[in-house]
């Protein structure tokens, strides 16, 4: 393949990575922004989304599209409910102490991972894409589903942005993010806001997991990579900044896609990690984060 088309293909692959990453990272960033909780178990919510997509797809009869649409709704809701329970049972009891919650979410990570291993097993299972059509470009054919993933992530992120900026619930979350004590003295039930935020963050990760599973297969260890990449994106973009998260996801996704194709995936990860180190040294609040 000539250089031009090859680059195009690499960029398209990168865009798919960026889209899924942006969804997962937006959830992580939201939870950190509003609750000041670094959720180490975030990747497990992504993994659970993928596994539940497989479960739903194998249970729901009919064409793959039906099972897939069902999974798009059911998996994030179930994972969100699990996260809400984890919030009430664990994080709230720790009074959202920043250090204690890191340790607690590490524990949560292992609990979810081992429970999945016990119930689902070690195998990777594929889930059929909801539709099969390919887009025929002059140089190569490309999966229509992958483009759908990019589109779907874009729509969800736009909806998230509108939710945060234009709805009463979003306003309440932003006020709580700025000053939870003052928020309480204006009638905001901070416990409820935290529970909802943790559920929403987990739901976004689960949604990313559902979207990726027709491309990647569902397996109980798949949460590691997205956790690392989400942290990279969130640190570069600035913790708690949705805009920064999106831009950083694009940068990391596109560079990961192209470097992986032209060189090796390992080099891509090395470069991304170096980038994080440089951001941490020269601009610790992230490229778009407000100075703490």
């Amino acid at each position: 393949m000539a250089f031009g088309p090859f680059l195009l293909l690499a960029l398209m692959e990168g865009l798919v990575t960026a889209a899924v990453l942006a969804l997962a990272a937006a959830g992580l960033s939201l939870v950190f922004g509003v609750m000041r909780v670094v959720n180490v178990a975030h990747g497990e919510f992504y993994m659970l989304g993928a596994i539940l997509a497989w479960v739903v797809a194998s249970v729901v009869p009919g064409p793959p599209a039906v099972g897939f649409v069902a999974a798009l709704v059911i998996a994030p809701v179930l994972v969100g409910a699990l996260a809400a329970a984890a919030d009430g049972l664990i994080l709230k009891r720790l009074h959202y102490d920043p250090e204690a919650t890191i340790v607690a979410t590490i524990g949560l990570l292992y609990m979810i991972q081992q429970a999945t291993l016990s119930l689902y097993g070690p195998n990777a299972n594929p889930v059929p894409a909801p539709f099969e059509w390919r887009i025929q470009l002059p140089w190569f054919g490309y999966s229509g589903y992958k483009l759908f993933v990019v589109l779907a992530a874009g729509v969800v992120l736009l909806a998230l942005w509108i939710f945060m900026r234009r709805t009463k619930a979003g306003l309440i979350m932003r006020a709580t993010q700025v000053d939870r004590t003052t928020a309480r003295s204006f009638g905001i039930n901070v416990d409820l806001v935290y529970m909802g935020t943790f559920a929403l963050g987990a739901g976004l990760a689960a949604l990313a997991g559902v979207l990726i599973v027709p491309i990647q297969q569902a397996q109980y260890l798949m949460g590691g990579d997205p956790l690392l990449l989400s942290f990279i994106v969130v640190i570069i973009g600035g913790l708690g900044s949705l805009r920064g998260t999106l831009i950083a996801a694009l940068v990391i996704g596109l560079s990961d896609g192209t470097i992986s194709m032209f060189f090796t995936p390992t080099l891509a990860k090395i470069i991304a990690t170096l980038l994080v180190a440089m951001v941490l040294v020269f601009r610790p609040q992230g490229l778009f984060g407000a100075r703490a």
Partner: protein, 232 residues
């Protein structure tokens, strides 16, 4: 609509700050609390808002207990709070800060209109973020945000601290208007002139105790009280 505090004790962790404070605020009256830095004035207001738990004693509004309520229930009873140092939601716009103030009363347009009539300057700044306002405008916003709750009781913690005289006058005028509307105003204030101008009653606080609580009329002639308790 009297707010009544009886033998209230409170503090932070092992430290007791308030030792059996009793205090009253009545509708249409301005009740001032004076005292040196660290006397416990802000702690008293935080305790009234449920932000610092009461250890003993009672807080009632018209006979209904407020102590023990979760903090987010207190504003639902009609109590609004202007904290010391304003504590605005800086990255949020002026309109959004006001919307947070009006959450518990459903953000009625007529309430917002009334608040913006009292502080017309804020109307011109609705889409600006709170952090970009001047100090005086920020204080106006802090009061306006509390008024969006259409409160029966308004707690103000040093609302004119660090402001220019012209701003202080504007804020004092607003307090006079609120008093005339029948709001029970609790004002923590360090300036003697402001207290003499606005207050109906003055309570002096020393080390977490109310040591004197009297009508302002008797105080006008008695500069000693201020000298003793506030050090001016």
């Amino acid at each position: 609509m009297a707010l009544e505090v009886v033998s209230l004790s409170s503090g932070y962790g092992p430290i007791t700050v308030l030792h059996g404070v009793s205090f009253r605020a009545e509708p249409g009256r301005v009740s001032c609390i004076m005292g040196r830095n660290g006397a416990g004035k802000s702690t008293l207001l935080k305790c009234l808002m449920g932000l610092v738990p009461a250890r003993s004693g009672t807080i009632t509004l018209n006979g209904v207990a407020l102590h023990g309520l979760p903090a987010h229930e207190v504003p639902r009873r009609g109590i609004a709070y202007v904290p010391q140092g304003r504590r605005l939601f800086g990255p949020l716009t002026v309109a959004e800060n006001l919307a947070i103030g009006g959450l518990v009363t459903g953000n009625r347009p007529e309430t917002l209109h009334r608040v913006l009539t009292l502080f017309p300057r804020l109307r011109e700044r609705l889409t600006q973020t709170a952090a970009t306002l001047s100090g005086g405008e920020q204080q106006m916003l802090a009061i306006a945000r509390a008024l969006c709750l259409d409160p029966r009781v308004l707690l103000l913690d040093e609302p004119t601290e660090g402001l220019q005289p012209s701003m202080i006058a504007l804020i004092q005028e607003a307090i006079v208007v609120l008093k005339a509307r029948g709001v029970a105003v609790v004002l923590v204030e360090q300036r003697v002139d402001a207290v003499l101008k606005l207050a109906d009653r003055v309570a002096f606080m020393v080390s977490g105790r109310i040591v004197e609580d009297r009508d302002v009329s008797g105080l006008r002639a008695d500069a000693d009280a201020f000298r003793t308790y506030v050090g001016v």
